[in-house]
């Protein structure tokens, strides 16, 4: 069976799925751009230091550098909190006199059990040492990592499974299909593996960026090629022998 041989409504249904995956991938790329942008307003290309903070810093510091950055009074506040965590995040005078005032000023209006302000997150209080210290583990916590990794692996595997299966019924040359399918799966495994390894070696941040980019590019390419094959006649240099003849 070939994609071009499908009836009109099968092509329409598959096209809907493929376009949705493309839009989803673009939305994910937009989200990454927004989460890891620097201090400029709006969408920017991800800043490597922001990505690094997300994967190899504590959740507290990485939040102050990324999603919570608009609420941080001055950049030096992040250095104070990071320095305290690097020194073991103990409940000492430095925590009380230097770190806690920053948390009170920048975080507690929302992150308090009794806050009722618009957008408050009383379920994630940062009111006491015991509340705060649980967000000081460097990199993703093992629990959070396992949770995020299995959701990503299962979710993206389903998308890739559908996309690569559709591509396998296309009329492209074998090397095109083999190359794209292999690249997409390898990029996924490298991306998720690097999440874990970045906890120990900062250089794996670059693997995350490169593998993640290839992963999204492969998925979008597969979907676009399938759409072309569904509705258009392939150029000869891309079509397999059966199609050309």
């Amino acid at each position: 069976m070939r994609l071009q041989q499908l009836n009109f409504h099968s092509k329409l249904g598959l096209s809907g799925l493929l376009i949705t995956i493309i839009l989803g991938a673009m939305s994910a790329a937009t989200l990454i751009g927004l989460l890891y942008s620097n201090e400029k307003h709006g969408f920017n290309l991800p800043d490597i230091s922001q990505v690094q903070a997300h994967y190899s810093e504590s959740l507290l510091v990485s939040s102050m550098k990324t999603s919570m950055y608009p609420y941080v009074t001055i950049d030096e506040d992040i250095d104070v909190v990071k320095g305290w965590i690097d020194q073991g995040a103990v409940n000492n005078d430095y925590f009380k006199n230097e770190v806690m005032p920053i948390i009170e000023s920048d975080c507690q209006s929302c992150h308090s059990r009794r806050s009722t302000m618009t957008g408050a997150i009383p379920s994630m209080p940062l009111s006491h040492y015991q509340d705060i210290v649980q967000y000081t583990e460097k990199g993703y916590s093992w629990t959070y990592m396992a949770k995020a990794a299995h959701i990503h692996l299962f979710g993206i595997a389903l998308l890739l499974g559908f996309a690569t299966l559709i591509l396998s019924f296309s009329s492209y040359r074998s090397w095109v299909k083999t190359g794209l399918i292999s690249t997409a799966w390898l990029a996924l495994w490298m991306d998720i593996s690097a999440w874990w390894l970045a906890k120990f070696y900062d250089s794996f941040i670059y693997v995350i960026v490169v593998a993640g980019t290839i992963e999204v590019a492969s998925l979008v390419s597969i979907c676009l090629l399938c759409l072309v094959n569904l509705w258009c006649t392939l150029p000869k240099f891309l079509a397999d022998d059966e199609t050309r003849h």
Binding site: F8, K11, L12, S15, G16, I19, L23, M26, S27, T30, E39, H41, G42, Y69, P70, Y71, V72, T73, I74, P101, E104, S105, Q108, S109, S112, R113, R114, S115, T116, M117, T118, G119, P125, S127, H128, V228, W231, C232, T233, P235, K236, F237
Partner: protein
């Protein structure tokens, strides 16, 4: 090697793709207000004269509340439209926002059936009023407070923690939050327009916020009135504390809610049950605290407030208490807030707005 497209699908693809992109590509709203140079003077009367047509409008959505008051029934969001003009000496602002209720009944005296007088008051869980109060509007201008450009008004806002304390001091039932800056030398200019206490006398209550976070040093912590040489507002109550001390000569809508100098006369009780006397008496501030002229007019569900201040103010502590528009090439950070019949609860916006001169 020509590509042959099945044209039956083309319209569907265009609709799907274009609709998906439409929301993503909408540009971020501008946060900049630009003041336009004029030559003729402006009359500050709360009316939008034709000269205002030359000024661009900044629209700011205010939809965030610092706390949920247990008796607050005011608006929870509105859009504030701001314009600005300036001449060689003054800067002017024209502010408009929708507020369906004109709230002026601030702690009024009401005569009871038994002939006694009662001052109507209410308190929410923080000890503040949201029923018998007044509409207010505020500008918040950065003077020299790091972080204001990112956090806006929130830079000086400190709410109660889990223990009900602010800076280690118990505040349960006393307030929802306190305003103060982080360090000595940091201050913020606050223009507090008050529809009952100051609007009838034509000025804004010009205040500022500094680093004080100890009620022993200052009752209102970091929030202070600018230096004044006279004027102000006090409760209209007699020495026995059971009835008004003064009343206005005329009893009309304008003179029903505060005692003003031109109308002030000793209270003589010839009233009937249900009649109302203002619970406050106001005189225009003089000195730095009263150096901003303003007139607000409420009409058909919209407050229009016209404001005028010198570009540069002078006097003792002017640089600590007032933002100085002394460099017309510079950007100034500010925020706005709307108080709908509420003493401290207000709707505000995240982040800071910027103000420039053309």
């Amino acid at each position: 090697m020509a590509l042959s497209l099945n044209l039956k699908l083309l319209p569907i693809m265009i609709i799907v793709v274009s609709s998906a992109f439409q929301s993503n590509l909408t540009s971020a709203a501008s946060h900049q207000l630009t003041s336009v140079r004029i030559d003729q003077p402006i009359q500050v009367d709360g009316m939008q004269d034709t000269v205002w047509n030359t000024a661009p409008t900044l629209a700011v959505k205010v939809d965030r509340l610092p706390y949920k008051a247990n008796n607050y029934e005011g608006i929870k969001e509105t859009e504030v439209m701001i314009k600005s003009l300036y001449d060689k000496e003054f800067v002017y602002f024209f502010v408009q926002y929708q507020d369906p209720t004109k709230s002026l009944m601030r702690f009024p005296w009401v005569k009871q059936d038994d002939g006694s007088w009662k001052m109507l008051k209410d308190k929410d869980q923080t000890g503040h009023s949201n029923v018998y109060y007044e509409d207010k509007f505020a500008f918040f201008w950065e003077i020299n407070t790091p972080g204001f450009a990112k956090k806006g008004c929130a830079i000086s806002c400190h709410l109660l923690n889990d223990s009900g304390q602010i800076n280690g001091i118990d505040q349960v039932g006393i307030t929802a939050g306190r305003k103060y800056t982080r360090r000595a030398g940091q201050s913020i200019d606050m223009w507090h327009w008050k529809s009952v206490r100051m609007n009838p006398v034509g000025v804004i209550d010009d205040q500022f916020v500094d680093h004080v976070k100890d009620p022993k040093a200052s009752k209102n912590w970091g929030r202070h009135g600018d230096n004044k040489t006279g004027g102000g507002y006090t409760t209209n109550i007699n020495s026995a504390g059971d009835s008004p001390e003064y009343m206005n000569k005329q009893r009309d809508e304008f003179n029903q809610f505060t005692i003003t100098p031109a109308q002030k006369t000793p209270f003589i009780d010839t009233f009937s049950a249900g009649d109302m006397i203002p619970g406050i008496q106001s005189t225009a501030f003089t000195g730095s605290r009263g150096d901003i002229a303003a007139t607000g007019v409420w009409k058909e569900g919209v407050w229009s407030i016209e404001i005028k201040r010198k570009l540069v103010t002078t006097g003792k502590d002017a640089n600590i208490q007032d933002v100085q528009f002394d460099d017309l090439s510079k950007s100034y950070n500010f925020g706005v807030a709307v108080f709908d019949n509420s003493q401290i609860n207000h709707i505000y916006h995240d982040g800071a707005l910027t103000f420039t001169f053309d």
